[in-house]
């Protein structure tokens, strides 16, 4: 029995799977309205936005050297506002606007990456600063001079813009089927099968050895921060489409939830360790938890609280395991 427990705890993905199934069964039995096709598919819709950010955090934390991206929420917000303003106020073609938004995300991530890799400032500080900067840029963009100096949300989008966030294909939300799942598959390929993924794990687990092995450490780091920007931008686009509004405060507090999910999914805060399977299960568990609590009539503020408990609990568990592992 003890060995079975050890195995489950040691094998993070399995552990999360057990947790997921247990949670699922509990909700299915005790929460009315949970185990319906509509609810189950509907729930996935909400998981996408946070999920993309969690995947972004996963990449950045994996790259080691104290890697963390506190600016994902701000990048999400600014991209939402760029897309919103370009479509709603400038009247630009929606596809072009979205493309520009995604480019902006990549650019902001790239900037973070360059600052982290080439100046030697810790990621925590760089992204704390860019959290401020991007957030206030979003506010500035949101100002509509016609209505005075205050930032205003944008919500006059053409009907076609809502497709991504609100439509369903065979009952499954569009953004899940056509964005989230492809992104997960791509990242899976990247991490598990590609040379870049190999290098990323190398850089994350031992920067010096990576350098000695002929890996370009800086290039790898810049790439992951750029990817983080792109994923945040995708999230910003989808959220704007789903709630049919681009608001300048939309991404506040997301960064912490995203980090929590990545860590819960087994990504070691020291870098170099963690799998996409674990993080996807982490996303699933948190989505399930949010949904189940909501259906059970627990106020959504408790989502945060439960997230905190899960985060500290899972890392504490990790530490207990690490202490047993002899290095």
């Amino acid at each position: 029995m003890k060995r079975v427990l050890d195995y489950i705890v040691e094998n993070r993905v399995l552990f999360l799977l057990v947790l997921f199934v247990a949670l699922f069964v509990v909700f299915a039995v005790s929460v009315p309205g949970f185990f319906t096709f509509y609810n189950l598919t509907n729930m996935t819709q909400y998981g996408v936005e946070l999920g993309l950010l969690a995947l972004a955090e996963m990449l950045v934390i994996l790259s080691g050297g104290g890697g963390i991206d506190l600016s994902v929420g701000s990048m999400l917000t600014i991209v939402a506002m760029i897309i919103g303003v370009l479509i709603g106020r400038v009247g630009l073609n929606p596809s072009l606007s979205i493309l520009l938004g995604l480019f902006a995300g990549a650019g902001m991530g790239y900037l973070n990456g360059v600052l982290v890799s080439y100046t030697g400032i810790l990621p925590f500080i760089v992204t704390l600063a860019s959290l401020y900067i991007y957030k206030s840029l979003a506010l500035i963009i949101a100002v509509d001079p016609r209505f005075g100096p205050n930032p205003m949300p944008v919500s006059n989008f053409p009907e076609s813009f809502y497709f991504v966030g609100q439509y369903r294909i065979a009952g499954i939300p569009f953004q899940v089927l056509c964005i989230f799942i492809p992104v997960i598959l791509l990242l899976w390929l990247l991490l598990e099968k590609s040379i870049f993924g190999r290098y990323l794990y190398g850089v994350g687990s031992n920067e010096k050895a990576a350098l000695f092995s002929g890996i370009n450490v800086c290039r790898v780091r810049v790439t992951v921060y750029t990817l983080s920007g792109i994923l945040s931008a995708l999230s910003g686009w989808i959220i704007t489409s789903r709630i049919a509004s681009a608001r300048p405060d939309i991404g506040t507090g997301y960064e912490l939830q995203a980090i929590t999910i990545a860590v819960l999914g087994g990504v070691s805060i020291k870098g170099g360790e963690g799998s996409i399977g674990g993080v996807v299960l982490g996303i699933a568990i948190i989505t399930l938890l949010y949904n189940g609590m909501q259906l059970a009539g627990i106020h959504q503020i408790w989502q945060l609280g439960s997230l905190g408990v899960v985060l500290v609990g899972s890392v504490l568990l990790n530490q207990v395991l690490l202490a047993r592992r002899k290095i």
Binding site: I121, L128, A129, Y132, K135, L137, I140, I269, L311
Partner: protein, 317 residues
Amino acid sequence: MTNTGFRKVLRRREFTVLGLIVLLVVLFSLTTERFMSVSNLSNLLLQLAGTAISAIGMTMVIITGGIDVSVGSTLGMASVVAGKLLVGGYSPFLVLLSALGTGLVIGLFNGTLIAFGNVPPIIVTLGMMSILRSLMYQLLGGRWISGIPPAIRVIGLGKWLGVPISMWITVVLIAFFTYFLSSRPLGRAIYAVGNNPEAARVSGIDLRRTTLFVYAVLGALAGFAGLVYVARTGIVQTNTGSGFELEVIAAVVLGGTSILGGRGTIIGSLLGAFLVGIIKNGMVLLNVPALSEGLVVGVLIILSVMIDVIRARGERS
């Protein structure tokens, strides 16, 4: 000798920040009429007190090489507790003790997990932050607390010799902790732990106790800042103190405390808090609305840390 000593002073971060503050003060008093007015300045000091008080504790935490992102929620939680008790008519003394106690318990909890559970500080305090937000909601039930009795609001709004009482308290706390950090063995141990934990262990410093201590102090100070907040605004909401943690961390980092540990002063953090506060205040007066304040603070953080990095490189070669 005095010449190099003077150059040393010039090279210190505190001096750079002070220079920036003077520059901004001159700039704002020339470009706006209201900046130098008594009401504006005392308003500025009122708002600064909470940040400065928490920055004292945050400086100590960061000197040990740690971080605490739950200060905003700690402040919020303490203000909920204080607000409820005040409205319930309890004695101000008891309220003060409960606000301090609330913060202290939270800090001890953080510190225990970090020092004894070996969980990274960012994780512990991130989790704590979420948990406290939920608890605050539970306690408030989605409503505001208002109707704080005027007697207590003296702490937040009252003045003595034209300076807010909260600022007097801040000054006393800063004086005490500056003395503590520079002259008490435990205060120096905090620097030692952050600078070289291995050497500190050999010198017989108890790493775990020192770590626990700094988080506990930060908790208690954030708790006190919560009381000051209630007294100043007279309102407590579910989101009271959210985002506050970033402001405090920014103040400390701007003030020259190294995020790698081992270096920093409370005076520096106070100056950092002033810098952020003056930027906020001046921009409101200039009608460059609050929007671009984050922009300026963010750029300042990057620049100031970059100057340190470049300086360190220059000294090495």
